[in-house]
């Protein structure tokens, strides 16, 4: 480890962490801003954090290597433990979009729930920075570091409504189980380090390739198993999904929205880099595991969602199911499947955050009305929100011409091309099951008589903007997916 630290100190390259550096600096500055702001005034913090995200986005794009360019724009540094390549940049953009939509829908929400606390925004920026380290980390230690930065901020955010029992419960549960899963991850990393003597992902791959005997070593296999648990927990794959409904329901709604998109994508990024590059030699092993887990995850998510009447909880299960679809792409592990995952994460960010933004607007203080009954007649009382919700639900179902359809199409096309035809069939059947609970929301919105008191939806510019952006994203990826898919193809290793 000493050696590692020395190398890292010699090889400082701030270019390789520039986006996260910008975010963290902004975050720190904003913490100071909130200290000197009057109580209850947070709107300016929200705007400044949007500015932070925009600046970071511009900085991120600088490292993008376009198609056909001879010189790569990627940045490497810190002894090769960070590498800002197209893969990382694509994910960075996904995180930034997720964070941006979240912040847009938050301001009025925090005021409504009477927690107008400025620290909220810097925490989101720190989470995003952690997610970026996970995506650009090429060393297991960097990835771990990123995971912790991401998680600790999220624990706080999940329990942000400190006088609300449900929120406290969410924060605590997430913290306990998260710490538990991190233990597995760390133990797995230790075992892999014990076998190969390194924590560099690419080097692990090389060592395993050069020493085939290590591939059947108990320690390698156990290490792989334990590491996968850390990632599977974060993407909420069955059987490590059980925290999801409770945490998603209890956390502040914008944070739930963010959790379902940003951190999940970050976990996928790290999962992909470690397994596809580091453990490439064991691909047969992990694909057979992921095959089973993908099926299990899809089934658990979709089947249990059927019984939910609380919409946040329903969307939590739906997000489990979507993790299952994305895992299908990882099982396929070919160009179209892997780039499909990247595409899926972007598409999912738009459609899920859009749906949550509507919940944010539709909720009353305390959010006890976010149930199916609470949405009865919603579509006629609030035509714009009703139509927007329908669009997001249709996209979550995977109906063309929406992003959800093209995303699923690429994932399943990848599975079919790799020969996993049954997996694709199971995936499509699961989508059919999911129609039930998504459509049910639309049935309540349009075919049930409204409840008495409907005077409550207060349109808020930020949330409306995030809905509009999400709609544009959903249709753009649904109708003209070609360009983004080309980017995704350039982004995989």
């Amino acid at each position: 480890m000493e050696n590692l630290a020395q190398i890292a100190m010699q090889d400082v390259n701030f270019g390789a962490i520039m986006p996260s550096l910008v975010l963290v600096c902004f975050g720190m500055a904003l913490l100071l801003v909130t200290v000197f702001s009057p109580r209850g005034k947070t709107t300016h913090v929200a705007y400044l954090s949007i500015l932070a995200l925009v600046v970071t986005g511009i900085v991120s794009l600088a490292t993008w290597t376009p198609a056909g360019s001879l010189v790569g724009n990627w940045q490497e540094g810190f002894g090769g433990s960070v590498r800002l390549d197209n893969f990382a940049t694509f994910f960075n953009i996904v995180f930034l979009i997720a964070a941006g939509l979240t912040i847009l829908m938050s301001d009025d929400y925090l005021k409504r729930e009477e927690y107008p606390i400025g620290e909220y925004y810097p925490l989101i920026l720190f989470t995003t920075a952690g997610a970026m380290w996970m995506a650009s980390g090429t060393d297991l230690m960097t990835i771990f570091l990123g995971l912790e930065v991401l998680s600790i901020s999220l624990y706080v955010l999940a329990g942000f409504f400190r006088r609300q029992e449900r929120s406290n419960e969410a924060g605590l549960k997430y913290f306990l189980l998260g710490a538990f899963s991190t233990g597995f991850l760390l133990y797995g990393i230790a075992l892999i380090y014990g076998v190969t003597g390194t924590t560099k992902v690419a080097l692990i791959g090389e060592i395993l390739a050069n020493n085939p005997s290590l591939l059947t070593n108990t320690m390698t296999l156990a290490g792989m198993g334990l590491m996968s648990i850390g990632f599977l927990f974060k993407i909420a794959a069955a059987p490590f999904h059980m925290w999801t409904p409770d945490v998603y329901q209890g956390a502040p709604t914008p944070i739930t929205a963010f959790m379902s998109a940003g951190p999940k994508a970050a976990a996928f990024a790290a999962f992909l880099r470690v397994f596809v590059i580091g453990l490439a030699g064991l691909q047969d092993q992990w694909t057979s595991l992921l095959w089973i887990l993908a099926v299990l995850t899809m089934i658990v998510g979709n089947v249990v969602a059927i019984y939910q009447t609380n919409l946040k909880r329903m969307l939590a299960y739906s997000s489990i199911a979507h993790a299952g679809y994305a895992l299908v792409g990882m099982v396929a592990a070919n160009a179209i499947g892997l780039s499909g995952i990247l595409f899926y994460m972007l598409a999912y960010t738009f459609m899920n955050l859009g749906a949550f933004a509507i919940l944010v607007l539709a909720g009353k203080k305390g959010e006890d009305n976010l149930t199916l009954d609470g949405f009865a007649g919603f579509g006629f009382k609030r035509p714009f929100l009703g139509v927007a919700m329908s669009i997001f639900l249709l996209s979550l179902m995977g109906i063309p011409p929406t992003a959800g359809f093209t995303a699923k199409f690429y994932i399943f096309a990848g599975a079919v091309e790799a020969g996993y035809i049954w997996l694709a069939i199971i995936g499509v059947l699961n989508s059919a099951v999911s129609l039930y609970y998504y459509l049910r929301v639309m049935v309540y919105m349009y075919f049930r008589d409204p409840a008495e008191d409907y005077g409550w939806v207060k349109m808020h510019a930020g949330a409306v903007l995030s809905i509009v952006v999400a709609i544009i994203g959903v249709f753009y990826l649904g109708i003209i997916p070609g360009a983004v898919m080309e980017f995704a193809k350039l982004a995989i290793f």
Partner: protein, 658 residues
């Protein structure tokens, strides 16, 4: 070099108009703003189209593509959002946006005070967008978007008065019949894509590439014949040819501007355009060409006979449209692609004018009858008569267009129709029989058009006396489009003067022929025959037209009691024609009722018992499963942690012992 970077603006303007009117129209409320916006949108397209049209005239290079971006790339299927501007599409965008602009303007007056005014303009703009995509697309998939889009808009606009059952039924009929054709079109597309790709390694849907590689399929091969036949089935649906024409007359339930734009000037000609676009493939399939020519000629004659005995002013025009479309297909079938497109153009002018004229009449009749509290049908020609003095501008433009469609020399359709007839006679694929059928149909056309003119504008006023005084000429916003179209109906033909006349008058070139040469040059059939033959055939067809006009005048103007006698003497024949040869009834008996019976059987016998059983059963199983799984979610952290530990053990064991 010329640049074609802003082609996308052409479909973009109407799309923007459709979005704004569709979403904000209800709030805008002001008819002037909504109508003005819709009209401006399409007029903008027209301006851009004109610009590119004249640029293309001067440009030595005649084929230009503009790719905006990748639409989808899945394996070997690469599809772009791309546009193709060549003489054919340049002419089409000019017609679509030009006639479209006039009809939008007209609609401001015609739809005044209608409920859902914004909806109408939004749909109309959306239609223009789809139609422009259809003609501008550089690959078959973009074309297909337009193809389906115009179908959708047609459905929406036919059913515009959706509270009227007949309108709803007509909309559904149009949609379903079109789907039958679309299915053929899609099959053809798949077969073409697959054959070119798997057998010859050219995976493409791009028109330019298809044309360049079509020879790989082999001229006259079975594949080409099947592909083109499938395309032709698609064309019969969209362009209302036998056997799929029955939806078009019913489509007259829509507002009259819709009939003029969609069901006369533009959408229904999409099939003709598609064959033109695929001319290389059709050229390689002589058997398909023969089918196209025969179906076209048969439709031309058949629809013309039905037109003889209709009393609804718009229905006569609808059958006339079917018949004229038959001419265009006849032209395509005998390899006279230029002539087909030429007739498409002139038809757009005179038929749009006729429809808009009829709309003006209906508008006035409606107004008059409304004042008199009469429940007479404002579209029934038996209630009209003598409107000439009341509506001079409508009358003159209508008369001019009627003369044009009858094929009287000097007017537009004379040039296009006679070119078609000449090719039907003298092209290698032609035959005297095709010519004879076409010429007969021309005679019938003249007859029913002048029957219409006489019953509407001449003779005694048959309108209820009280209503008469309230009938007056339409406002300028309606009559200006009429005058422009009427003028075009006269002079529109002079861009394509047949060589035999051009030569006689001193080397006037056939401009249209030359303009379209880059597209059709290699495939266009050459007519073989002496100039004297051509001239004498021309004389015969003009004579037939004159006889038709005189006969109509004799029966409906000079001896108005004659038609009654005629009907009494030939009851059977009249009834058959009046009831449209009972084709709808035959289709009902042959296709619709058996399908319904099959549907009922599948519903009650199969669906309710077998499928619902399975579905409900699955639902129950999943529900039970869901209920069970839900209980694992206890809410206790230690239970969750336990599940994770079990999961961990299983996973590690899986890796170690597998």
């Amino acid at each position: 070099m010329y640049s074609y970077d802003y082609l996308w603006l052409i479909p973009f303007f109407p799309l923007l108009g459709a979005i704004i009117n569709g979403f904000l129209g209800k709030k805008i409320k002001s008819e002037k703003v909504i109508g003005g916006l819709g009209t401006l949108a399409i007029a903008g397209s027209f301006a851009v189209s004109c610009f590119y049209f004249f640029q293309l005239l001067n440009d030595p290079q005649k084929v230009h593509q503009q790719v905006i971006g990748s639409w989808m790339s899945v394996g070997r299927l690469q599809v772009d959002w791309g546009f193709l501007l060549d003489p054919l599409s340049a002419l089409m965008i000019l017609i679509v946006s030009g006639v479209g602009s006039l009809i939008h303007l007209y609609s401001i007056g015609y739809m005044h005070g209608e409920e859902g005014f914004y909806r109408f303009f939004s749909y109309l703009n959306l239609f223009c967008f789809s139609m422009l995509m259809l003609v501008l697309g550089n690959n078959a998939l973009v074309m297909f978007i337009g193809w389906e889009g115009v179908g959708l808009c047609s459905y929406l606009l036919i059913g515009y008065y959706f509270h009227k059952k007949s309108a709803g039924d007509a909309a559904k009929k149009a949609f379903v019949v079109n789907r039958v054709g679309d299915f053929g079109f899609l099959l053809g597309l798949f077969l073409l894509f697959w054959t070119l790709g798997s057998d010859h390694g050219v995976w493409t849907l791009n028109f330019v590439e298809i044309a360049a590689n079509a020879h790989l399929l082999g001229a006259g091969s079975a594949v080409v014949t099947i592909v083109t036949l499938c395309f032709f089935i698609g064309a019969t649906g969209k362009s209302a040819q036998i056997p799929l024409y029955t939806w078009l007359p019913d489509a007259m339930e829509g507002p009259t501007p819709v009939s003029a734009l969609i069901h006369a000037a533009t959408m229904v000609t999409a099939g003709v355009y598609m064959i033109g676009r695929m001319n290389v493939l059709f050229f390689m399939a002589p058997s398909t060409m023969m089918v196209v020519a025969i179906v076209g000629a048969a439709t031309a004659l058949f629809a013309a006979t039905i037109g003889l005995a209709q009393n609804d002013i718009k229905r006569v025009l609808a059958y006339s449209t079917v018949s004229q479309l038959g001419y265009m297909f006849l032209a395509m079938g005998v390899g006279a692609f230029t002539a087909g497109i030429f007739h498409l153009m002139t038809h757009a002018f005179f038929k749009a004018c006729l429809f808009l004229g009829s709309g003006s009449v209906i508008h006035a009749m409606h107004h008059g009858l409304h004042h008199a509290h009469s429940h007479d049908d404002p579209q029934d020609m038996r209630n009209m008569g003598g409107l000439r003095k009341k509506m001079p501008i409508t009358y003159i433009t209508f008369l001019v267009s009627a003369i044009a469609i009858a094929g009287i020399p000097g007017f537009s359709a004379f040039f296009s129709k006679d070119e078609i007839l000449w090719f039907a006679f003298a092209s290698p694929q032609g035959s005297p029989w095709l010519w004879a059928v076409g010429a007969c149909a021309a005679g019938l056309t003249a007859f029913y058009m002048f029957r219409l003119v006489h019953m509407t504008f001449h003779g005694a006023q048959r309108t209820a006396a009280k209503a008469r005084d309230h009938i007056h000429e339409s406002p300028l916003v309606i009559t200006i489009p009429l005058m422009v179209l009427g003028l075009l109906a006269v002079v529109g033909g002079y861009v394509g003067i047949p060589h035999v006349i051009g030569n006689a008058l001193g080397h006037i070139p056939n401009y249209l022929d030359n303009f379209l040469h880059p597209v059709f040059g290699a495939t266009q059939a050459q007519a073989h025959g002496a100039a004297s033959t051509e001239v004498s055939l021309m004389v015969v067809s003009v004579a037939l037209a004159v006889i038709g006009i005189l006969l109509a005048s004799w029966m409906y103007l000079w001896q108005p009691e004659l038609p009654g006698k005629f009907v009494a003497n030939f009851k059977g024949a009249y009834r058959t024609i009046h009831n449209k040869w009972y084709v709808d009834e035959i289709y009902d008996a042959m296709f619709i009722n058996p399908t319904k019976r099959l549907g009922t059987f599948l519903w009650k016998g199969f669906d309710v018992q077998v499928i619902d059983g399975i579905v409900n059963g699955t639902g129950k199983v999943i529900n039970a499963f869901s209920k069970g799984l839900r209980f694992t979610q206890s809410g206790f952290v230690h239970n969750y942690a336990m599940t994770m530990v079990v999961g961990m053990v299983v996973i590690v064991a899986f890796f170690l012992f597998r």
